[in-house]
Amino acid sequence: MKVRVKLFAMLRERAGTADTFHDVPEGSTVKDLWDDLRRAHGGLAGVDLRLLYAVNSEYVALDHRLADGDEVAFIPPVSGG
């Protein structure tokens, strides 16, 4: 399956990318994708922040199962306002 990955703020800077497409195996979860990303981007390996995860603009749990075409966002601690 192909999913779109959105990275923001500190994650975006550390990965050096904001918006990419990834191939993931059927049945992959958000956690599987995140593990993949950490292998692909050395800058993300050291990140130990409490992240939030959104699929198609809705917050989901880390074990949420992905579908083909999903937009997956990794959301570091928000600091709007």
Binding site: K6, F8, A9, M10, R12, E13, G46, D48, L49, L52, A54, S57, Y59, A73, I75, P76, P77, V78, S79, G80, G81
Partner: protein
């Protein structure tokens, strides 16, 4: 009115939007860039959002507030990009028949916005930059780049 903008926020526009003959109270909150934070001397703040989702989450705050309190109208506008000292990064305006509802809804909106709307600020201070919320000691402090001063 729930939106992001890369321009200075016009309070009068929000007030015109929430104004209503049935409203007796308007509570507004304006978040501005302070010149200092935890001992750092701030130059400006850079805001980044997840567009689409940020606006959607902001609109949810308004719907939730309308369920909890008797409000007439609500507007939340958040600025994205560079916000200099003294300028507003966010303005919330809530009208209601009575002040208790207006105050509580306004407070709820800014408190929840800070918890879960996907917007981030990077502090540009004398000596560096830091993503607020993601700082864990100096580990995540990056030196300022020449272009962002």
């Amino acid at each position: 009115m729930y939106r992001l903008t890369d321009q200075p926020i016009e309070l009068n526009e929000l007030l015109a939007f929430v104004g209503d003959p049935a409203a007796g109270a308007v509570s507004t909150f304006i978040g501005t860039t302070r010149d200092n934070n935890e001992g750092r001397s701030i130059i400006s703040l850079d805001y980044e959002a997840y567009p689409g989702m940020a606006e959607q989450e902001i609109a949810k705050l308004g719907e939730e507030a309308a369920e909890k309190w008797e409000i007439t109208r609500m507007a939340i506008v958040h600025r994205i990009g560079n916000v200099p000292i003294g300028e507003a990064s966010v303005i919330i305006a809530v009208s209601a028949p009575h002040r208790d509802d207006a105050f509580k809804a306004c407070r709820y909106a800014i408190d929840e916005l800070k918890k879960r709307v996907p917007i981030w600020k990077k502090e540009i201070y004398r000596g560096g930059e830091i993503w607020i919320g993601s700082q864990t000691g100096e580990r995540f402090t990056t030196p300022p780049t020449p272009s962002s001063g």
